[in-house]
Amino acid sequence: MPATTDIPSLARLIEPGMQIALPVDYAGVSMAMTHALITHGAGNLDLVCVPTGGLQADMLIGAGLVRSVETSAMTLGEAGGAPCFNRAVKEGGIVLKDATCPAIHAGLTAAQKGAPFSAMRGLIGTDVLRHRPDWRVIDNPFGAGGDPVVLIPAIQPDVAIFHATMADRAGNVWIGRRRELATMAYAARRTIVTVERVVEDDLFETETMAAGTLPALYVDAIGIAPNGAWPYGLWGGYPADTAELSRYAAAARTTEGFAAYLADTGAAAS
């Protein structure tokens, strides 16, 4: 395996203009990477939220590093809307690629299989579809005529970034039943993972653990970041810090407030 890498060095793997896949708020968000990415400063990023985005994407947008966002939704959950995202939408500061959850999964799954596209039901007659010139509608070629279906092109992100409970010394990562993390890693050219800890046990030693393990084959770099999803929670680990999420939501309502929040928590993180 890759030996573990320090977080700032992981962030330096990101180059301007890359397409980056980030997981939904409950699946294991590497918030530990957020400040490092902002400090590193590679911009013009195209984000793919799998399948929705929240605090991490909002902070990257607020920091001016994002060119486009493909997502099914952007929200801070109970803490409300994503303030920097909402501001960028109003100002026309980012390119929006509104999607629907299964379409993002469909695009990633196509890339996972090395196929050019996936076909899916739904979407016909929506403004989501109308605003996606990169999607196509064809008649089901196996049908008796008619029966339109939507084709979603493969999404092959340059890098997938997520946080998980543990990795072993060989670089295998335990993702439990959060299979979207595997989908992201299968689809992406490179995958960067932060973990709570590295364990001495081989994750393939028992079938129980192996079933929830993403093989090192798909993992390019690992960093250790205890409490690395904070203020998000980590499944089977710790709950979300809802007070902190609300604090962010209130602070980031203005660009000044966002900058102050960043300076404040950035100092705490480094």
Binding site: V24, Y26, A27, V50, P51, T52, T71, S72, A73, M74, T75, G77, E78, G81, A82, F85, N86, V89, K90, E91, G92, L96, D98, A99, T100, C101, P102, A103, H105, T109, M120, R121, G122, L123, I124, G125, T126, D127, V128, L129, H131, G146, D147, P148, V149, R177, R178, R179, E180, L181, A182, T183, W235, G236
Partner: protein, 251 residues
């Protein structure tokens, strides 16, 4: 026992709308629909009816999916989910739902989170219940600014699901896909037709004197305030506490 609260009537109404379903999915931040589903599950058990499965999305404990967040959609696509709840920033008289924003896309004046899975689930879940507690002409508009999910589809488009009913804090509507449009089924206690007409930006069908939404009977209320409240407080502790306060003896 104190009389039922408006929210208890909503929860009971939802349980009624779900009657007969085998599997219902509920969003992580939807305590009233979750309570309705839990009430139905409890009532089915008491009646010896087939068990009801509830998937609460985003919950670790009440979510039995093991294939990541895609499994809900795969499950729905195969017809394994009978009912789901959708809300909307705007909902129009044709049953179209807008979860994206107000004004011209993409630079909308107001931006909401986004369409989530609605652009798919509305097509493939047979009983989609539109639920929004607030009932104002800003929400219930003549025509949505953005169609996240259409109420109906032209012939030839695969559509095994769609809107089944619309429940708000004022009343309950059925959806008629043939027209298409809503028909007011009943008005909740304490409200009247004029109030609903004034608060609704689209035209809807109704009887001259619409029925009143029935409040829960004593047995249902006992179940709701006992077992369902206990189950609810595991996943939605704040909401359960609030519900209990609304109906406590000294309220």
């Amino acid at each position: 026992m104190t009389p039922s609260s408006p929210r208890e009537t909503l929860i009971t109404t939802i349980a009624g709308l779900l009657d007969g379903v085998r599997h219902v999915a509920v969003g992580a931040s939807s305590p009233i629909p979750a309570a309705g589903a839990m009430l139905l599950r409890a009532m089915s058990e008491v009646a010896g009816a087939p068990p009801v499965r509830i998937s609460i999305l985003g919950s670790v404990r009440h979510n039995f999916f093991t294939n990541g967040s895609v499994e809900l959609f795969d499950c729905a696509g195969q017809g394994r989910i009978d009912a789901f709840f959708l809300s909307g920033g705007q909902i129009d008289g044709q049953g179209n739902v807008n979860l994206v924003g107000v004004g011209d896309y993409p630079q909308t004046k107001v931006r909401w989170p986004g369409s989530f899975g609605a652009a798919y689930l509305y097509f493939v879940v047979p009983r989609v219940i539109l639920f929004r507690e607030d009932h104002t002409p800003r929400i219930f508009v003549d025509k949505v600014d953005f169609i996240s999910a259409p109420g109906t589809s032209p012939e030839g488009v695969y559509r095994s699901g769609g809107p089944y009913a619309l429940l708000t804090g004022l009343g309950l509507f059925d959806f008629d896909a043939a027209r298409p449009g809503f028909r007011l089924r009943s008005i909740h206690p304490g409200h009247d037709l004029t109030e609903i007409t004034d608060a609704t930006g689209f035209a809807f069908a109704h009887d001259a004197a619409p029925a009143a939404t029935p409040p829960p009977d004593a047995a249902t209320l006992a179940l709701l305030r006992g077992r369902v409240l206990d189950e609810l407080s595991e996943t939605y502790p704040d909401f359960a506490a609030q519900l209990q306060r609304e109906t406590s003896e000294d309220a």
